[in-house]
């Protein structure tokens, strides 16, 4: 490849990277600016004065007593929302992954009628836009006396993440050779030992991939939170931060600081898990 071609490729890649990263950089920059600098013209990408005021208000605002009669500012609920989001994402992921792993394992290992159809039906279900079933699901939650509870959100997220997790784990287990399980059975392991000590470690990269998917979907969801939840202190982050926009005024500093804080856990998680995604998958167990 000539130097010019290489230069061109790097220029294009650089431009794409900049376009992709710019919103995040802008959000970080805005979250660190004082309120008067946010709207200054010409805008500054690197803040002239750096302030953590927005972060302080979000993280410790709940502890700060507001003036009597002024009502509680939305930022005071930020930590509640954050905890809610953690509970519903982790809760729904735990359920989805447990069910998907066990179901996918049985789909690949035990013979029964309709065995081949299940994963395909599941993935078809995943392709239906969630906006179509969010209202019937809401009515179901009402019938179960569950709306405005975190459990309703957990169940809702399980419904949207389970089909794809099942598909992913199914595809993964199909690649795990059955001989290693048979070898363990001959070695004297029980079915449960085989699953725990042989199958799960081999399936770990698949479980991590499915978990990341499920966490991201439930962490980023807006629709279910918007429809299912009502009380200010029970909202997930995505719905809660919309309260920084009150119809006439947008608090961009808080909005951007929330965005950064919302992105952070997923970014850290992904950075940490990424290594496990590729590490140690069962190459070499079977044949050469």
């Amino acid at each position: 490849m000539s130097r010019w071609a290489a230069a061109l490729i790097y220029a294009v890649l650089g431009a794409v990277t900049f376009v992709v990263c710019f919103p995040l950089l802008w959000a970080i920059s805005t979250s660190l600016k004082p309120k008067d600098e946010i709207f200054r013209w010409p805008p500054t990408l690197i803040p002239e004065t750096i302030t953590f005021e927005s972060y302080r208000e979000l993280l410790f605002g709940g502890a700060v007593a507001s003036a009597p009669g002024a009502g509680v500012p939305p930022s005071a609920y930020f930590m509640d929302w954050f905890v809610n989001s953690v509970i519903v994402s982790v809760g729904s992921t735990a359920i989805s992954i447990t069910v998907a792993t066990l179901a996918a394992y049985s789909l690949t290992r035990f013979r029964f009628r309709g065995q081949r159809a299940v994963p395909y039906v599941a993935i078809l279900g995943y392709m239906i836009p969630s906006v179509i079933f969010v209202f019937p699901m809401f009515l179901t939650m009402v019938a179960l006396d569950l709306p405005d509870t975190l459990l309703s959100l957990i169940l809702g997220y399980v419904c949207i993440t389970l089909p794809f997790c099942l598909w992913l784990m199914w595809a993964f287990f199909r690649g795990v050779p059955i001989e290693i399980e048979e070898a363990a059975l001959v070695d004297g392991a029980t079915r449960l030992q085989v699953f725990r000590q042989i199958v799960l470690p081999v399936a770990l990269p698949g479980i991590i991939a499915a978990s990341i998917f499920s966490l991201i979907v439930s962490w980023n969801d807006y629709l279910f939170g918007r429809v299912f939840m009502n009380s200010m202190d029970k909202l997930p982050l995505t719905v809660g931060v919309m309260h920084f926009f009150d119809g006439t005024h947008v608090d961009w500093g808080l909005m951007m600081a929330s965005s950064v804080l919302m992105t952070l856990p997923m970014a850290i998680l992904f950075g940490f898990m990424q290594r496990h995604l590729v590490a140690g998958f069962g190459a070499g167990a079977v044949k050469g």
Partner: protein
């Protein structure tokens, strides 16, 4: 030491009957090979003995103990898989010791036994490695070590050498045989490779279509095939099987009388079997020979295979010394060694008793 007795064993997958009322006794301490083409049911039989499949009918006993119905882990067997089936996330030491681990063997004893087996197999330096870091031959040894460490009653091996290259396979054949002689553990070995069966076994069980065709020592199945299937399956190059007739007690091929008497009560139509090395080349017109013309000549190292067409679509292969020259379409004749002729009943496929196939004078009676 344990013998294996199998009585009336059948196995069906849906409507497909893979094993048909099979009877087999594997004597204690013997190396027994299940030999047959793909799909003959040999691997299914091994998996039934291992407990990885449940029989449709019949029973399996290890010594006095009836084992069909017991899970694999309670049969005290060890199995070496074709794909080795090592645990990918465990290192070699844990792979070998896993069977001891799940049985609750103390750690110190486990380490000692794993070390001892690894020493015998010369894989001590690999104990800390993961399976993906091993070569095919090393994986094979780990799989063997895993089988040996538990001191099982019976070794089951499912084509364990088929993934190795030819040179390593030849070396491992010798080693496996040596291990068996040292350990004296009853071994059931599945292969489709007759060379493995012939070189390693005390007994060969030839199978086809879910039925045992013949049980015997390697010499017996080679020298006295019980039926047409065994005759055609054992031996390289394969035995010549040509149509023959019983004409008044005399065997003829394409109208040419052979110096062989048909057994009393033999049918009029026969199949004659003779190994290529028992066929020699002769000049046309010699008594007791069959004339024909050379159809194909192949050199196989120190020998040459000459295929002679004695009638349309009827060919006899002779294995002669490589120095023997023959050109395509030469008019030649073949002589069949009368002492090595096998006769089969085409209707049943069964061999006629060898003792009854008598040599007679070369001239027509």
């Amino acid at each position: 030491m344990t013998d294996v007795a199998i009585r009336g064993l059948s196995k069906s997958f849906g409507t497909n009957r893979v094993l048909k009322a099979l009877d087999l006794t594997v004597p204690s301490r013997q190396f027994v090979t299940l030999l047959g083409p793909s799909g003959c049911g040999k691997t299914t039989l091994l998996r039934l003995i291992a407990g990885l499949e449940q029989p449709t009918e019949g029973e399996i006993r290890f010594g006095e103990r009836r084992v069909d119905g017991l899970p694999p882990g309670e049969r005290n067997i060890a199995m070496v898989f074709q794909s080795y089936a090592l645990y990918p996330t465990m290192d070699v030491a844990r792979n070998i010791g896993y069977g001891l681990e799940v049985r609750g063997t103390p750690k110190a004893e486990r380490r000692e036994r794993v070390g001892a087996v690894a020493k015998v197999l010369e894989i001590l330096h690999l104990l800390g490695r993961k399976p993906r870091e091993l070569s095919g031959g090393q994986r094979q040894r780990v799989a063997l070590g895993r089988a040996m460490v538990r001191k099982p009653d019976i070794f089951l091996m499912d084509e364990p050498l088929s993934n190795l290259d030819a040179k390593l396979r030849a070396a491992m054949r010798g080693e496996l045989r040596r291990f068996h002689l040292d350990l004296g553990t009853t071994t059931i070995y599945v292969t489709h490779d007759q060379l493995e069966a012939m070189t390693m076994s005390d007994l060969v069980v030839v199978m086809n279509e879910g039925v045992v065709q013949q049980i015997g020592t390697p010499e017996e199945v080679y020298a006295r095939p019980a039926n047409l299937f065994v005759a055609g399956f054992i031996g390289t190059p394969p035995m010549n099987l040509i149509p023959a007739r019983n004409e008044g007690g005399r065997v003829t091929v394409e109208g040419h009388p052979l110096p062989v008497a048909a057994p009393a009560g033999a049918p009029a139509e026969l199949i004659l079997g003779i190994r290529p090395q028992d066929v020699s080349m002769a000049t046309p017109g010699e008594p007791g020979t069959i004339p024909g013309k050379v159809w194909m000549v192949e050199l196989i190292g120190s020998e040459r295979l000459i295929e002679v067409e004695i009638a349309p679509k009827v060919r006899v292969t002779a294995e002669v010394r490589a120095s023997h020259r023959a050109a395509l379409d030469d008019a030649v004749a073949v002589r069949l060694d009368p002492a090595q002729i096998h006769l089969f009943d085409p209707a049943s496929g069964q061999a006629l008793p060898r003792e009854a196939v008598r040599e007679v004078g070369a001239r027509p009676a």
